[in-house]
Subunit: 249 residues, 6 copies
C-alpha cells in the first residue's frame, strides 16, 4: 500500500493490521558522468515499491528525496539539505507518522552520506523522551538497501572490481532496470575512479573530478540491476517483518 | 528535462541555455473519502512533467512532496512539516539550485495551505540580502497551478457547483487522469461539504468529519482531469517563459 | 481596557467577564515621501484604542509595533524582523496571553506584508497541538483593519483613484486624523506610483524609488481619516464580539 | 526626532547629522497592586520622548515594549518573550538600524530583568564579527534609566525607605507624571514588600503575593515623578552625546 | 564525590543523601601575558575539588570548561561559545542532572563574561514552566567564586592595587597554587593595565593590547593563591549547604 | 603543549610552527557497575596528554567532556547534550580554533555514540562553504582512539572474550592506568553482558540493566591499560603528523 496513492480511510483501516511503515529516503545528487541525479532516492523507492507489489501489506510512505549532499554541491543538479534542516524534517515526518499510530518507522536509505545525520536525528528524537523518563511509543530503524541481508555480497559478486563507493555500478544498474530509457553513456577515465576523504564541495570536486569515487559504473546493465532488485525485495520484506515483530524489552 | 532523470553533465550543459528551474511543490495530506493522499504534490508534478514532455527546454526539479498540513493531521496518512522546518528546507533547496547558477526559481504549488509559509520563506531568504544592502542573484516566484491563467475559470466551468476548497473535484480529476487505476469511490454526505475556518487538527476534524471543505469530489473524472491538465500545460510554459524573460529593474 | 495602562488585579478581574484580547500589530517602515514610518502600527492602534474608548469591555494589548518589512529596508527608518524572529515573538505573545486565560486572540493587523508570516505562525502554534492529538484552549484570528466589514469599500469610495497598495491615502489619512501636527507634504511624481512584484530591498527601491506602490497619498486628509476610523470602530467591535461568541465544534 | 512620527526622507536627512539612535526598551509586566502593566516600557519612553522634546537632534526609535518577564507570568497581563526570542528580536532591530547607517545604538532600558538577556545579545551580535576578525561598523550600549548619572541617588533621596526593586515608587511616580488619569490605589500589606531570589513564575508569586519586591509604591506622586524625569532628561542627553563622541580605539 | 571519577551506582546511592550538585563553570580564554588560558575554568574546578576533598558529601560535576568569551577571540587559544550555544548546552546539563533527581544545581562560575548568558539561560529554562503554570522540580543558582562570602574582600586585601577585572592577580594566584610548575613571567607595561568598555574582539585587542584589564598580575604567587583557596572552600561549603536547605515558598 | 596550561603568547608563537590542534572529545556517561562516569572523555584526554608529554610539539585543546549520551540518561551521573546542541558547540569550537589560524582540527574521540553527530556537524560546517563555492581554510578529522592503527587489535588480543561495545575492559583499563586509586569492583551477572539495539534511555535500561553492552569489564587492570596507552600514543602522533602533512588537492 503506497500512502500517496491511497485515501485516508484506506490508511486508517490498514493501521488496524499493521503499525509499521517504510520510508524510502535518499538524496538528489550527482552520480558521475552517467548516473542519474536521482539515483539515491530512486533506488530505495524502486525496491520498496517492488516489495509493495509483492506484498500489499507493506505500507510505504512517499519518498524522502532530498538528503545530506553538501559535498556534491559543486556538481550541477545536486540539491542538499543542511544536516540541521534534514534533522528537523525527519523529525516532523516521524511526528506525523506516529501521530497516526505507526509504531515502527523503517527508513530504507539510498545514500551513505545520509547515515550520520539520520542517526543523529534518531538520537535527537529519542532525547526528548530520555530527558523526561518516558518511553516513546515507537521505534526507529535505518537500513541502507545495500545492507539488506545478501545484497552487498551479490553486488560485489556481480561487480568484483570497480564497485567503489559513489556512482557504483550496482546503484546505477538498479536505476537502469527501472528507467531503461534513461541509460546514459560517457567516456571517462581513469576506468576506476580514485578514493579519498570527503570534505567540502570544492575539495570533493578537486579530488573526484567527474564525481565518481572508486567506481567503474559502465559495468552496469538493466539485467544486473534487476538481479539486485530481486535479491533486495525479499530481504526487505523479511527485515520489515522482523522489525514489526520485535517485542519491547 | 527532469533533473532527477538526468546526469550532472546534462544539467551543466543546459544551464548554458536557461537559468530557470521549476519546482513542483505540494503536500501529502488527506483529500476526503476518495482523494489520494498525494493529490497536492501529484498535481503540480503531473502538470510540470506534462509540460516538460512538450518542451524539453523546461528544467524540472524533483517534487517537494511534503508541505504544511498540520490541520490535516487528524486523518491517517497525512505528513506535515512545521512551518519553521518547511522554511529551512525551502531555503536549502534555493541555496542548492542557485549555487549551480539557476537565477529564477519557479515554485509550482499544489496546496493552498503552503502559500503563507512559502511566502514567509521568500521573505526570510530575501532578508539576508536586504539587511546587508546587496542584491540576490536570483528571483523567486510562487504560482498555484489553479492560478495559472485560465485554469481556475475552466475548473469552475466544469464544476460550477461543489468545487469547494479542499478535496476539490478538479484536483482529484487531475490525479485520476494520471492514475486511472487508483480511482476510488465512497458514499459521503452531505453531497457538498461544509465550510469554515481552519485551525488545529482536532478542530478541523470536528468541523469537516470526512476531510472535505465545500466540495463534492464525486464529480471528478479522468477526462475532466485531462482537460484541466491540457489547459494548465501551455499556461505554465508561457508563465515560465515570461518569468525567465523578466529584466531586473 | 488597555492592558498597559491597567494593573494586574484589573486584568485579573476583567478575565472573569471576557476571554478575548485584541492585539494591534503592524510594522515600522517607510510609507513614501509623506507617510509616517509608524503608519502600519499606528493605524491598528488608533482604531483599537478608539474602539476601547467606546466600549471599555474591549481588552487591548500593547501594540506589536515591528513586523516583517525586509523589502523596505533600503529606506531609512524601517525596522524589520526576519520572519523566523517574528514567528517566535508572536508565539511568545500568544503563550503569555493564553497563560492568563485568554482564549481568543484577535490580531488587528496594519501591514499586508505581515499576513503570510502571521498565518505561518498560527500554523506553527497549532502544529504543537496537532502533532499530539490535543486541542489548544484558544483560537487565533488575524484581521487586517481595512478588511473589517465595510472599511475597504469606504476607502475606495473616498479614494477611487490612486489608492494603491502601499502608502495608501487611506492609511495616511488615518494617521493624520490622530496626529494632525505630524502631517507632511512633498512633491512626488508620477502622481500615481507604479506597481510590480515585491522581492528584496534593493529590487524594491529600484522599482519604487520613493517607496509608494500604486498610490497617490496626497489625497489624504484628517477628515477622511476620521471617516475611516469611524467606520472601522463599530466593525471591529462587532467582529470581536462574533469571535468571542464562537462555539468550538 | 521620533522615527515613527517621521517620514523616511526626514530620517535619511538626519543621518547626515547624527549616527546615534536611542531605543527605549522595557517590558509589559505586573507592577504590584497599583502599578501599570506598561510601567517598564513607559518609563524609558517617557524619558526619551521628553529628551527629544528638548533636543530635536535626538533620534528616538519606536519603543521595544515586550521584554524578558517570565517570572511575572503568574500575574495577569504580563507578556514575556523567552530570552532566545528576545535575542533574535534585538538582533533584527540592530541589523535594521545599522543598515541605515546608525553607528551607535543606545538602549535606554526600563526593566532590570532585561539586562542579562540584552547583554547576552550584544555578545551574540559581536561574536559574528569576532569569529571572523572584522570590526563591526557600530557600537551598542545599554543603560538603565535609573542608572543615568544622578538619577538613582535622587530616587533614594525621595524614597529613602521602601524603594525596593520591583514596583518601586520611583518608576510608578514617573508613569503617574505622564498618565495622571491612570493613577491607581490599593490596600496592600505589608507596607514594605519582602525580598528574595527570582526564579520561575509560581515561585515568584508564592514569595511575592501581590507582585512587589521590597517596595512601598504608595509613596509615589506625579510631582515626584516629574522631578525624576527632569533629572533623567539632561543626564540622558549628556550620556548620548558622550556615546556619540566616542572615538574607536 | 566527583561525578566523573565515580560509577553510576555510587551516584545513585548518593542521591539518597543529597539532591545538590555543584557545576564548576568557566571559560578558556586569554589571561594576559602570563595567565593560563584555562584560568577561568581551572579556578572554580580547583576550589570545588578542594571542597570535595574536605567534604566528600559534596557532589561535583565535570567542569564546564568553555563559556562566553567572544571578546577575547583576537588572542590565540581562546575558545568561545556563542551565547545561544552556551544557553543550549547549559540547558542540556540541567536537563540531564535534574533527570537523575538533582533538585539544586549550583553553578560555581569563574568568568565574569559568563554571567549574563548564564542568567539568561536560567530564565529560558524557567520560562518553559512559567508559560504553563507548573513549578520546576529544581532551583538554579549562580555564584562567582570571588563573590563567595569573604573572598573578594580577601583578594583586595592581598592586592590593594592593580587587582583589576581581567587577568587579575588573585585568579592567577589560584592557578599558581594548583599548577606551580606552570607559572609564567613576562615583561609588560603599563604596570596596571587600562580599563574600558568590552565590545567585539578587535575592539578589545585595540583597547587592551596584552589582554589585561586594569590588573597587575605579576603580584600573584602560589602562597597568595592558596590563601584565597583556603578562604573560598569553607565559604563554598557553607553556601551550598544553605542552598540545599532552602525551603520552597 | 596543552592550551589550557599555556598563555596566549605561547600559543601565538607555536602557531608559527604548526597549524594542527588535537581536541580530546568524549562523553560523561554510565560505564557499567564499575566504570567511571568520565571514562569516555578521560580516555582520549589520557592518551592525548601522554602524547603531548612525549612530543611537546603536539598542541592539545581542553577536553570536550560532554557529548551525545541520551541513551544512558536512565543511569545517574550521565550528562548529555542533544545532538543539535552538540553540533552548535562543536561548530563554535571549530570557529574559535580556526580564527587563530589552526588549519587542521583533529578530534580524538572516546565515545562511539558521538560519531554520527560529530560527522553530521562536519557536514554542517562544510555546507556553509559548499553552498557558496568557497573552500574552507581548514580540514576536520575524527578518529576514535581505539581506531588508531594497531590499537583495536591490541585490545582484542588482551581481551579476546567479553570486550563488548560499552563499558569495555579496554577503556576501563585505560582509566585504571591513569586513576589507579579510583578502581572499583562489583558483582555483576551475566559475566558477559547482552547486546542489542540502542534507542531511548528507558529502552536501554530495560535491555542492559547494569549498563554494560557485551562486555566483561572485570578483566581490566592498570597494567593492561598502560599497554593500550603505550600503543595509542605513537599511533596518535603518527596519525596527527600525517594529517598535518596532507596537501589539499
Amino acid at each position: 500500500m503506497l500512502i500517496h496513492l491511497s485515501s485516508w480511510p484506506e490508511i486508517d483501516a490498514r493501521l488496524k493490521a499493521t503499525k509499521t511503515v517504510v520510508v524510502p529516503i535518499g538524496s538528489n545528487e550527482q552520480h558521475g558522468p552517467t548516473g542519474l541525479l536521482g539515483t539515491d532516492w530512486l533506488c530505495p523507492e524502486i525496491i520498496a515499491h517492488a516489495a509493495e507489489t509483492q506484498d500489499d501489506g507493506l505500507v510505504v510512505a512517499p519518498t524522502f528525496n532530498i538528503g545530506m549532499a553538501q559535498h556534491h554541491l559543486a556538481f550541477a543538479g545536486t540539491i542538499s539539505l543542511r544536516p540541521s534542516t534534514f534533522m528537523a524534517a525527519i523529525t516532523d515526518w516521524v511526528s506525523s507518522l506516529t501521530r497516526h499510530g505507526f509504531e515502527r518507522i523503517y527508513f530504507l536509505n539510498g545514500h551513505g552520506g545520509n547515515v550520520a545525520t539520520i542517526e543523529a536525528t534518531f538520537s535527537e528524537i529519542y532525547a526528548e523522551w530520555s530527558f523526561v523518563e518516558e518511553r516513546p511509543p515507537f521505534a526507529l530503524k535505518l537500513v541502507n538497501w545495500w545492507d539488506l541481508p545478501g545484497v552487498h555480497r551479490l553486488c560485489t559478486e556481480i561487480f568484483p572490481k570497480g564497485h567503489g563507493m559513489h556512482a557504483t555500478p550496482s546503484e546505477i544498474a538498479v536505476t537502469q532496470a527501472a528507467y531503461p530509457d534513461r541509460i546514459k553513456t560517457a567516456d571517462y577515465s581513469p576506468q576506476i575512479a580514485p578514493v579519498g576523504p570527503i570534505r567540502d564541495a570544492l575539495d570533493y570536486r578537486a579530488r573526484f573530478p567527474d564525481g565518481r569515487i572508486g567506481s567503474d559504473p559502465a559495468q552496469a546493465s538493466p539485467e544486473k540491476g534487476q538481479r539486485i532488485i530481486d535479491a533486495a525485495v525479499p530481504a526487505l520484506l523479511a527485515d520489515v517483518k522482523a522489525f514489526s515483530g520485535e517485542v519491547a524489552p
